[in-house]
């Protein structure tokens, strides 16, 4: 049985100038679980992830063909409302980028843009999402200090809270723990496992052990091509493709 899906990728090709970095990728991303994208460096993992919320657009000279359907809407359709698409997905980047404002304002940034003005409402939104991101206890007494004054690990959880505060259905995370210490990494991983019953979480990682810990579903990319995808058990235990097996065994990297 095909799992439910909100994101359908059909014949997606991405070019940076003359570089053909994603080659004819087609996949249905299953809902409400952790999807891990693995593959060697430079194979297009980040590009694929950034195609889902059209952040690839910000690269100069980028060209995209094919479709990414999110909720039955092709997000590369020129008439599509970009802010609307991006609001559906929270983003965690490799290094956390808190906005140049207080912890409180970071979380309230999105909701304010989308029209929430009421102070009480904002307070409860901020508290709610900081709790979900597992940061509330640590920052509740310093909500109005600059976001840069907390640790990197806390900043990453703050970024998670900021992303969640616009009520997305999907969380996109590009090597979200690569700048973090082991304890903060575990915090992030734990939140993903907690959140996956409500969100579709797509994580790029090059740490295979992390992939095994997190993944319900695995996508393996190699040189811009989608080699194999499927439930984590199947891909890790009995990969269909020789290349996948070699990557998982560390023969190729």
């Amino acid at each position: 049985m095909e799992p439910e899906t909100h994101i359908r990728v059909k014949n997606l090709n991405v070019y940076y100038g003359k570089d053909h970095v994603l080659r004819d990728v087609s996949i249905n991303i299953p809902d409400k679980r952790v999807i891990v994208i693995i593959g060697p460096s430079g194979c297009g993992k980040t590009t694929l992830l950034r195609s889902f919320n059209r952040l690839v657009d910000t690269v100069d000279g980028v060209r995209v063909s094919g479709e990414v359907m999110v909720d039955e809407e092709n997000i590369f359709d020129p008439h599509v409302e970009l802010t609307h698409i991006r609001k559906k997905m929270g983003l965690l980047s490799q290094t956390p980028y808190p906005l140049p404002m207080s912890i409180y304002d970071n979380v309230a940034y999105g909701p304010r843009l989308h029209g929430i003005k009421d102070k009480k409402k904002l307070n409860s939104v901020v508290e709610h999402y900081l709790k979900i991101a597992g940061l509330w206890e640590e920052v509740k007494d310093k909500l109005h200090t600059p976001a840069t004054q907390v640790s990197i690990g806390q900043q990453q959880r703050l970024c998670l809270a900021r992303g969640l505060a616009v009520e997305p259905e999907i969380i996109l995370a590009d090597e979200p723990t690569s700048a973090l210490d082991p304890k903060s990494s575990r915090h992030i991983e734990e939140s993903f496992l907690r959140l996956k019953k409500d969100y579709t979480i797509i994580v790029v990682t090059h740490i295979l052990r992390q992939a095994r810990r997190l993944a319900d579903y695995v996508i393996f990319l190699y040189c811009g091509e989608l080699i194999e995808h499927g439930p984590a058990r199947q891909v890790f235990e009995s990969p269909r493709e020789k290349m996948t097996r070699e990557y998982i065994q560390g023969v190729i990297s």
Binding site: T58, T95, P98
Partner: protein, 283 residues
């Protein structure tokens, strides 16, 4: 001692000498205007306008030029800021990075920066003649705004291009438009640099004589209308230095001292005031 050690020491010496020379120049300038100017400083210098015979050594002050300069440079800085911000935000957020438009605009700004201020003065004067305007505070403001626009643009451009892309993306990712990102993230992040840019531009504007000599004119009265001529400190210094009377010449140094103090005062207060708004900056 081997050769590399000697080389190292020669360069070290050179760097130290140059750095000291630079600081010395600053100290000498400040010392010169202080020693020559302070003895002629009277309270009347900053509270009175020139009375009859002021330039012959009689009573009066340069209040007209102090206020004229502040109005003129202040007005020009504000005007230039309103013109510069959209240009710089366009270059850094909307236009294609390092595209041909961006390079062309940056090239134009660099050329404009290099044009001597007397040329701006002549240009402003021609335009005013064309519209049948006389030398006035407004004419001066517009001309000086044009003069400092490229400086402000390039300085702010430098600042905004340093804003990390990840920061912009973090804002886009929660559904912010470019405009919202520009206003709430980029301007905030760039604020300290913007303030520096504005101060550099203001300093250049308040200190320039050549661009205002035809366009703002000169007047012994405190400026009270945009459409009347207005005095400026650099011209007041120039006129006083140009007289054959030593006591008037010394007052020129006092005027230079006042001009320097104004710039110092404005730099320091802006920095103090802005400190409050810059504590959130991402390093």
């Amino acid at each position: 001692m081997d050769r590399r050690r000697i080389e190292e020491n020669i360069f070290k010496g050179l760097m130290i000498v140059s750095t000291i020379a630079l600081c010395l120049i600053l100290v000498l300038i400040v010392a010169a205007i202080t020693f020559k100017g302070l003895p002629s400083m009277r309270l009347s210098m900053i509270t009175q306008t020139p009375k009859g015979g002021f330039y012959l050594g009689k009573e009066g002050g340069i209040l007209n030029a102090i206020l004229g300069s502040i109005y003129l440079a202040g007005g020009a800085t504000i005007l230039a800021l309103f013109l510069a911000l959209p240009v710089v935000l366009y270059l850094n957020l909307y236009a294609r990075r390092n595209g041909s438009i961006v390079r062309l605009v940056r090239f134009c700004l660099d050329v404009l920066w290099g044009i001597p201020s007397i040329v701006y003065g002549a240009f402003g004067f021609t335009i005013m003649l064309f519209f049948g305007l006389r030398a006035s505070l407004l004419g001066g403001i517009i001309t000086v705004a044009l003069l400092i626009l490229p400086i402000m643009c390039r300085a702010m451009d430098e600042v905004f291009s340093m804003v990390p892309r990840g920061l912009l993306e973090a804002s886009y990712a929660v559904g912010a438009t470019r405009w919202e990102t520009a206003l709430k993230v980029v301007v905030r992040q760039g604020l300290p640099g913007m303030i520096t840019a504005v101060l550099i531009a203001f300093g250049r504007g308040i200190g320039d004589a050549a661009s205002v000599i035809f366009t703002a004119g000169f007047s012994d009265a405190v400026p009270n209308s945009l459409f009347r001529p207005a005095a400026t400190l650099p011209l007041a210094i120039f006129f006083q230095l140009g007289t054959p009377f030593p006591q008037v010449q010394n007052r020129a140094y006092a005027s230079a001292f006042i001009l320097t103090m104004i710039i110092l005062f404005i730099s320091i207060t802006t920095r103090i005031v802005s400190r409050k708004y810059t504590r959130h900056i991402i390093k």
